[in-house]
Amino acid sequence: MQVRQYLIRRLMLLPLIMIGVSIIVFTLTRFTGSPVGIYATPNMTPDEVAALEARYRLDEPIPVQYAYWLGGVLRGDLGWSGVSVAPVTEVIGLKMTATLELALAAALIAILGGIALGTIAGVRRNRGPDHAARFFAIAGASTPTFWFGLLLLIPFYLWLDWFPLGRSTPEIFDSITHPTGLYTLDSLLNGNVSAFWDAIRHLVLPAVVLAFGAMAIIVRMMRSSMVETMSEEYVDAARAKGLPEREVVKKHARRNAFVPTATVIGLSFGFLLQGAVAVELIFRWPGLGSWVTSAILSGDQATIMAYVLVTALIFMLVNLAVDIAYAYLDRRVVLGG
């Protein structure tokens, strides 16, 4: 019915936007010195380079070049990654799952923590917990993620040595199979407790640092949303029915407060993807972020462009998922009520 129509419309928009993104990425590649640099490996002969130039029609007008570049992308040819010394497509899967694991862990912390804190703040407005939550929200929005990471590194890694850097201890990591690519999940699937523990130990600190900024955004939105819904007439009507306050807050106020918060959650994932760049760098997490930072320092264009494409795609898909959830939460949006 209408919900499905709405979602189909949104789904159809996605490829159009991705094409737009690809145009932007393509334009950026033409700013570099030699566009062929994306595809060329360091030990190619001039003949091979010339062959590449012909293959991608680099002497033809720009739109043709775009067509061939796009064709290459869709065929899986994203160029040669200088920093990984391999074709981009070979390496990107691994990097992506590493970043996803980190981002999902951070998202979990940010969403659960943010909703809980925001609800308490909204219900106990202008009292103790509210002031604490608002302070937290503003601090989170103003703190540079990379600095926060360094700040936490000092006590937890330097002094206490509780949390190690990197993603895993190589021996333990290699001892299990990796069906999903997510270390935590895989260790559970393998039934290997020490691997799971290893995964968690490495994941905690970077996930917390990453979650900080996103959680602040969610807390703030949830709080203001709760304040608004708590003053709605139907909350009073629920009380007038004799329902206990706890149920009134959870079932009536909070359920409606979720709706605007859902959009913020989608946006905060973008925040997570951005923050991942610095966090991965600091905590030596082998994901897309640290990959692209090395690429920047060595001028590896292919990696950077692939990074932009992949991140935009992930971001769009997450937002789409949020929109689906939103459409189910608030039927009025879809049915235009």
Binding site: P144, W147, S224, T311
Partner: protein
């Protein structure tokens, strides 16, 4: 024949009420808003911090002197490298090349000011133009422009700016450019939304009925109302731009040794393992205070100008 209670006669005689010109009423209202904003102590703190940074930036040469030939490179005191705060005449210590941390922070504020003002003003202008055109023209023009906005919004800000700056080459100038390219879309969307909302109100319809030209309606009725969320967003962005710009320099997209706060954090981080905490900490603190100040003021403005989002 309903009798609704509460019918009252007005007690003000329109013939003797004092007259105000439209513009003086507007200024009086702005003053009132300003006073209301200042009633919040947090907002006042934000303002104070901003003013301090402003003074720091303007009077940088007087405060710590200007290094030759490039004031944005810290003077190297090679005799006193890695000095902790308070020693050897360096109030906040030095980094591993003898660069004075205080100097970096003060001149860094100039860079932050330059960065944020340039980006915010230019993106405001571009965004307003694009968004206004889209909303006032409507139809295909609107559709086309908004698709472009959607595409830009699909790429997270930092990542987009990162790619642009990487392609153009590492320099502070390119960071400014990259951020300008990325940030304008937000404003386009805000003003387009506001214009569309205002277009549907009754007073605009009334203006049109009276025969006002489109430009006049736009200038007098639409724009003043649409400005509010833009002002709030611009204030917040003054902080956000510096946050993202610092992240970009941290990653390495600015020139080496620049007295930019993000670059300083990066320069100081290897020292952390050796216990030299002061470089990164103070530089990061500067970024935090800058962003905090603008967030506080932006929040305060939003509370006053857009009452439906918050009630104190």
């Amino acid at each position: 024949m309903t009798a609704v209670m509460g019918e009252q006669s007005s007690s003000v005689d329109p013939n003797t009420a004092p007259r105000h010109s439209a513009s003086s009423v507007r200024w009086a209202r702005r003053l009132e808003v300003f006073r209301e904003v200042l009633r919040n102590p947090l907002t006042v703190i934000g303002f104070v911090i901003i003013i301090l940074f402003l003074l720091m930036a303007i009077f940088a040469p007087l405060l710590v002197g200007a290094n030759e030939p490039d004031p944005y490179q810290s003077p190297r005191d090679w005799a006193n490298i890695d000095v902790p705060p308070g020693e050897a005449g360096h109030v906040l210590g030095t980094d591993s090349t003898g660069g004075d941390v205080l100097y970096g922070i003060v001149w860094g504020s100039r860079l932050s000011l330059q960065l944020s003002l340039t980006v915010v003003i230019s993106t405001l202008v571009i965004g307003t133009i694009v968004g206004s055109v889209a909303a006032m023209r409507g139809g295909r023009v609107d559709n086309f422009l908004m698709r472009i906005v959607d595409v830009f919004l699909a790429i997270p800000e930092l990542i987009f700016a990162l790619a642009i700056a990487a392609v153009l080459g590492p320099s502070f100038r390119n960071i400014i450019l990259a951020l300008a390219v990325v940030f304008w879309v937000k404003y386009a969307r805000i003003i387009r939304g506001e214009i569309i909302r205002v277009k549907q109100t009754d007073y605009v319809a009334a203006a049109k009925v009276v025969g006002d030209s489109t430009w006049n309606v736009y200038r007098k009725d639409v724009l003043p109302n649409a400005i509010t969320p833009m002002v709030v967003q611009a204030t917040l962005d003054m902080g956000n731009v510096v946050l993202i710009g610092a992240a970009l320099s941290y990653i390495g997209l600015a020139q080496a040794g620049l007295t930019e706060w993000g670059a300083m954090v990066s320069a100081g981080q290897s020292g952390i393992l050796a216990g030299q905490w002061w470089v990164s900490t103070f530089a990061g603190l500067a970024i935090l205070l800058w962003a905090l100040a603008f967030n506080l003021v932006g929040d305060g403005l939003r509370d006053v100008l857009d009452p439906k989002t918050e009630g104190r």
